[in-house]
Amino acid sequence: MPRFRFLLSSRIYNELSLIKEFMKIGLQQALSYRFDITLQIIYVLFQVAFILIFTRVVSVKLGKFSELTYFEYLASGYIFHNLLFLPRGGLLAFIRSRSFPMLFISPHRLSILILGFNSFRILWSLFIISIMFTVFTIIGGLNIPVLSLQFFVLMLVSFITAIALDLFASGFRLATKSRHDPLNLFIDLSSQLLSGLYFPVEYLPTPLKEISLIHPERYILTCARMLLTKTAFTGIYWQVISTTSLVSLIFLIIGYLVFKWGLKISLSLGTIDHY
C-alpha cells in the first residue's frame, strides 16, 4: 500500500491502514482458535454434502421455477441465504464487543471502525461461501452467472438488507440491552418457513403467504432463482429486483433510525458499555 500512497489523501490512507491493522488482528485472533476454524469448514462441507444428496432423493413441486432442478433451486437459495446471514451480526458483534466503548471514543469514523472490526469476518464469510459455491459448481453443476450485472446488483441488495437488519438489531440492543429484537427474531424464526428457501412460497397456506410478503429474504431468493432461468435477462427480473431494492431501502431507513435512537438513548442512560 505505501507504493500507492501518493494517490490517496492522508485521511483515506490512515483509514485504509487501520482496516489493514484490524484485519491483521482478526487473523491472529482467528488463528488462535484453530480448532473452531477447522470445525466451521467441516460443518460447511457436511451441509454441502447433505444438499447434494438430499436433492437427488426427493422430488418437490417448484411451481413457477419448474424449469429448475431441485438441486439448483435449493443450492442457489442456500448460497444467497448464507450471503444474507453470514455478514449479519457484524455490527451487533461490534456493539457487544469489549472494545466497543474505547473504539467508539477513538478518533475514527464509526463506519470505518465497523468496517475494520468486521473486515476479517467479511473475508471469512466470503471464503466460506466460495467453498460452497465451488463445490456446488464443480460437483453439482450449478451455473450461476456471477459475471453479470444482475448478479452484482443482487449481491449489493443482499448486503444492504443484511446491514439494515444489523442496524436495527444494534440500535434495539443499544437502547434496551435486550438480547433479541422483534424484527430479526421474526426474520430468523420464519426464515425456513416463509422465505422460500426449501420450497416455493406459493404452496404456503394463504395467511402465511400474506405474511411472507414482508420477509426480505423471499425477494432475494426469488431473484437468485431467476438468475438460473432465462427470466434474469428480461425486464421481469428488474421489476422484481426493484421491489427487492425498495424493501431493502425501507429496512435500511428503519434500521438507521433505530440505530441512531439506540445510540442516543445509551449515551444519555450511560449504558453504552453495559452488557
Partner: protein, 284 residues
C-alpha cells in the same frame, strides 16, 4: 509578569454546572414510569450522580478528583470521554463539548478506566501485548517510527520482564494496567483522563506511574485529570477537587491543608483518616 503568565494559561478542561441523573431501575415488569427516559432523556427524577459541578484545568496541569465510592468520579470521566451525556451543563475539552463535539477532540484525548479493565478493553485477549500496543497506536494515528521510539523509551523505565510478546490475556491485573499506561505514554495525548489509575499497582509501580505522569506534563504539556479514592495520588497534583456528587473543595494541595489544618494535622493522619467525610461535614 504575573499578568502575562495568567494570560498564557490555557483552560483545557472546563466543566460548568455539570449535572447527571441516572434513571431509576424498573421495580416490576410493567413499570411504565421508567419508560419516560426513553421518551425524554433529559428527564430529571432519578439517582443523582453529579450536581452542579464546575471546575477548570489549565494546560499542563494535573488535576486530581478525590471522592468516596459513588461520588460520581467515573461518571465525570465518562462524560469527559464522550461516553455519557450530562443531564444539564457541559464539560468542554480544548474548547469543544466533550460529548456533542467529541469527534473534534478524539485524537487529543486518551482515557484509562482502570476499574473497567477486563470488562471492556481495547486490548485483545489472544494477541501479544506488542501487537496490541501497535494496533492502539495506529488507532490514534501514531506513526510507526514514533511508536517504536516511545515504546523503547518507556521500556527502559518500566521493565515488563518479557511480557511484551505474551498474550494480553496471560497478564496479571497489575500488568494489564501498566500496559495501559504504556499505551497512554506512546499515544502522548494533549489530555489524559485516568479513572482510578493506581488501583491495582504495587507501591513500586505506583512511583513509576507518578514519574511517567510528571514527565508527560513537564515535557509534553499534557493536561491530566485523575480520579481516585486513594488520597496518596494528590501528591503529584497541581489541583485537587473533592467530589461527592457536588464539588466540596477545589484548590491546591496547600489550600486544602491550610483550610483543614485542624483536621489534617500531619501527613500520616491525612492518608489514614476519612478526610472526605469530615470535610464534607465541615463545608456544609
Amino acid at each position: 509578569m504575573i499578568l502575562i503568565w495568567v494570560r498564557n494559561m490555557k483552560e483545557v478542561i472546563k466543566a460548568s454546572n455539570l449535572t447527571k441523573y441516572y434513571p431509576l431501575l424498573p421495580k416490576r415488569f410493567f413499570d411504565l414510569s421508567t419508560l419516560k427516559y426513553y421518551v425524554n432523556s433529559k428527564y430529571c427524577n432519578g439517582i443523582v450522580a453529579l450536581y452542579n459541578v464546575s471546575f477548570s484545568v489549565e494546560e499542563g496541569e494535573i488535576c486530581c478528583i478525590i471522592g468516596p465510592n459513588g461520588a460520581g468520579k467515573t461518571t465525570l470521566c465518562k462524560i469527559a470521554a464522550g461516553l455519557l451525556e450530562p443531564t444539564s451543563g457541559y464539560l468542554k475539552i480544548l474548547g469543544y463539548d466533550s460529548v456533542k463535539e467529541h469527534s473534534k477532540i478524539a485524537k487529543d484525548i486518551f482515557v484509562i478506566f482502570a476499574d473497567y479493565i477486563g470488562a471492556w478493553d481495547l486490548f485483545q485477549y489472544r494477541i501479544s501485548v506488542y501487537d496490541n500496543l501497535k494496533f492502539i497506536s495506529k488507532l490514534w494515528n501514531v506513526p510507526s517510527d514514533v511508536f517504536e521510539y516511545r515504546l523503547n523509551k518507556i521500556l527502559k523505565e518500566i521493565n515488563l520482564g518479557g511480557k511484551l510478546k505474551e498474550w494480553y490475556q496471560r497478564l496479571s491485573r497489575g500488568h494489564k494496567q501498566i500496559v495501559w499506561i504504556i499505551a497512554a505514554y506512546i499515544i502522548n495525548p494533549k489530555v489524559l483522563i485516568l479513572d482510578e489509575p493506581t488501583v491495582h499497582l504495587s507501591p513500586l509501580m505506583r512511583n513509576k506511574f507518578y514519574d511517567i505522569i510528571t514527565e508527560l506534563t513537564e515535557h509534553n504539556k499534557t493536561t491530566i485529570l485523575i480520579t481516585s479514592h486513594n488520597i496518596d495520588n494528590i501528591k503529584i497534583c497541581d489541583k485537587v477537587i473533592l467530589l461527592n456528587k457536588r464539588v466540596l473543595f477545589k484548590g491546591t494541595i496547600q489550600d486544602l491543608q491550610a483550610l483543614n489544618r485542624a483536621l489534617l494535622k500531619d501527613a500520616a493522619e491525612f492518608s489514614r483518616g476519612d478526610v472526605i467525610a469530615k470535610i464534607s461535614i465541615s463545608t456544609k
